[in-house]
Amino acid sequence: MTSVSRAARTAWRTGLHAVPTALGVVVLSFLLLQLAPGDAVDVLAGEAGSATAETMAEMRAHYGLDKPVGQRLVSYLADLAHGNLGFSPRYNMPVTQLIWDRLPGSLMLAGSALVLALIVGVALGVLMAAREGKATDRVLSVLSLIFYSVPAFWIGLMLIVLFSIKLGWLPSGGSQTIGSSATGIAAVLDQLRYMILPTVSLSLFYIAIYARLSRISMIEAKGQDYVRTARAKGLGETHILFRHVLRNALIPLTTVAGMHVGGMLGGSVVIETVYGWPGLGRLAYEAVMGRDFAVLLGILLFSSLLVIVANAVVDVLHGIIDPRVGGNDATK
């Protein structure tokens, strides 16, 4: 089976699965969120400090929060069917627009962190496997264990202390220089400077995972019979490493990295908060604190769609890397 037809089939299957999955996520989240005490009006009223019971009732009526749960769910789903994610009382704008504003920031952060983690993690894993049992391997193993166990927010704060406060090399938060009038390449470079610390903090945990995982799967792959066959062909060690060992060692890595795509968006809640990064994670955090459930539901729906898409992409990638996957023509 060609990878193109495989990709098409995966896309079709993903589309079929996405609808019920997303529906389930929305309904479940909607019901669960009803369990949280208070609503957006409580928070708004509390912040205003001068609200009366009448104005609060008026606001609830305005945002439709006074209706019974079932009725609200039905009208939410009806809106959803028309592509309308509702309206945020707190930001006073449509949820769709809020999410679209924040989505690029989140994707950029999670994407760059994932790419960085994969490149550095695999490189370290290959290095550790090559130096198995020697000093390099030991030191890197300990380091990766440390970065694996230390919470991301602490690493984020320590990086700020070191690079922003002590050394003054990098900004401590935000996404671009305030009031900057730079355009073109200068603007991109400015944004890159702001991305470095959040990206590194977010990726360190994943670098540790990928380094350890690729180390162990490299070591396992190196002992396989087909590597001995490759040696018996007289191939050079570099060729064997990349064509035979690494290629096979990457298979478990794609699976794990695929699952991380969703987790990374979740994990970036903390990092986005620490660095004041304008992404979905921070928006979600603010939505929870403000009981802004329409926003939260929208984010949850979006995240679940992202996870579904990421899984489909991984599925296709898997088929390319490992021809045995999904091949149902095993015996012709």
Partner: protein, 341 residues
Amino acid sequence: MSEHFILPRGDGPSLLAVDDLRVAFGEKQPVKGISFEINEGETLAIVGESGSGKSLTALSIMGLLPAGGTIAHGSIQFEGREITTLAPREARALRGGSIGMIFQEPMTCLNPVMTIGAQIIEALRQHQSLSRKAARARALELLDLVRIPDPHRRIDDFPYQLSGGMRQRVMIAVAVACSPRLLIADEPTTALDVTIQAQVLDLIDRLRRELSMAVLLITHDLGVVSQWADRVVVMYAGRKVEQARPDAMFGNPLHPYTRGLLNASPRLGDSYNYIDGPLYEIPGSISSLAGDRGCAFAPRCAHVRAGCRDAVPALATLSHGRQVACPVLLSEENRVTAVDL
């Protein structure tokens, strides 16, 4: 019988000469000094049970000893050139170029994520300067040579799409891709169905003739030896205990271990269910890494004498290149006359 009894193939010029090879893993020596020669165009079989050191001997020739293993002593000469001390680059030119090797497990010996064509082409282009197109054409020829049906359709298959026998054929195609002078086959049929075994061995034998290469056949299957080998080396606990032509060995085994092996093989005509008694087995188990004094087979030997445990018996050379490392049976005079069968 086939022609080689009249004109023994074993009499060609020497291609590979292994002399007193010892393989060490730290303090332990699983191969304790083995010598043999392979002549051009012949099939030499090394037989022995698991742990006798036969596979390590083969891997030493390839320079592919597992991690921790070293050639502690001895020399291996290939086409008159010492190959144990080659620089890595020269050793790689030899591997897959002049010496090809196939292994026991065709299921795991091919890379699961590369097409079989790519794996053959890779071997070709490592040793010959071929364009991609020419290498692919040659790979198709090789698949045809090893009798893979419909090579054009199969060349882009992945190993999981092939049966065990087919995979072993692909392995053979890889091993003979660069027309080696010597093919080492380490238990090439052990993992295969009995019906496929003969096909694969026939294939190896045909290729030996067509490509005029020599074959070193590592096996524990005496049936394989009797049918396909020109000469047999019997190994026990890292040493050669007997060397003979198959007909001589089967007709008149001279070492107690060889006798034990032959007795332990089921024979046509024996009752299937061993009603007359169980199949013979050699008592005890191999202990190649045990103490080095005396004959390693002595603890299991029915003919053991007082002197057997004192010194390792020397290999006595008889006529027709026959060798045996057991003075006890040789001293039985009636046997000596029968040696030249």
